[in-house]
Symmetry: C2
Amino acid sequence: MSDTKTQIIQIAEQLVRSGGYNGFSFREIAAEIGIRSASVHYHFPSKEDLALAVANRYKQNFFEALGDPAPDGGNTKSQLAHYGQVFQDSFKASRSACLCGMLSNEIALLPAVVKQVLVSFIDENLKWLQQAITYGASDADSAKVKQQAQLVYAALEGAMSVSALMQSDEWLQSVSNLVAEIVTPD
Amino acid sequence: MSDTKTQIIQIAEQLVRSGGYNGFSFREIAAEIGIRSASVHYHFPSKEDLALAVANRYKQNFFEALGDPAPDGGNTKSQLAHYGQVFQDSFKASRSACLCGMLSNEIALLPAVVKQVLVSFIDENLKWLQQAITYGASDADSAKVKQQAQLVYAALEGAMSVSALMQSDEWLQSVSNLVAEIVTPD
DNA sequence: TTTTATCTACCTATCGATAGGTAGATAAAA
DNA sequence: TTTTATCTACCTATCGATAGGTAGATAAAA
């Protein structure tokens, strides 16, 4: 992927994460790179195309940072601590909300293809968490594990949103710690 | 307050809750009421004024529905169940995200006065929850209670956001139930 | 007579998008 | 070796639409 194309996606991501789907424009991205907005359209014919690329890259980076659940010697608590750390790292790097959490609210504005990426982002988070929580407890009550996984994801997304507003990672840290402490497979 | 003014706020709230700060316009509101956009400016000189009124009314309605924490005979669990119910009712009525959760992400777009309302909304939620959790346990560890309150708020905001995306209250119900179960003052 | 609530008729700024064009690289064909 | 054809990555100029906002008129209500 060309330098310019990558740059466009990076800038778009930052703009979306601080202002939502309507918070970025081809002109603003172009201005930041030093090209014309028509040239941004060359790389991404429509806004929908660009938003889709941004969402897909975000999702991919997120799961790369996350890795597979339950590596050697992991237990539920350390897995959840790691999960929380990924959110914290993402916040520290950008000081803004989770792209998917951000866009999840804006149902009225989103192209269907972008919505699908969000749904799959949530699905895969749930799967990862269910595995991490069940780790080492194969007799775990799967309905309860699912509830717990939902709680962890929802709590971290919510905490990230508050952290973005407050411009402080206090909430994210606090929620991340507590969640690792109280969620267990038994 | 005149009928029109109330109508403007109501429609604006719904539009903000499904599309964020940039998701509503004076023209769209006017069209839905059947007046001209200039007439909306008569009631709210600027977009900032309207957004502020919307946020304040949302906050007020929310805490009216919530009531005071720990009424007669309440315990932590029933208080938290009630708290979760307020989120669920709000979702059922609008099938969209929490106004404050929604706006919390959009730091880059928000006028400072609106941001202040969001911060106070979160503050008051925290206070309410800390009281509800401490209820009947005056020896509770206040640092831990604060963490728990943060978790509850973050989890319900996050769940509301997912529910808005999925257009289903499954997440909200699931998270609400689990939170009431596992958060206790001791 | 003053206030309230609306209107018409504008404004400037910006949006996403498109048409048409060009410099320079590449690679196959003559 | 030169010509032809194609591609990449940009450009300028412009489109229709929409954004928030304003000046000034009007007419009913207080």
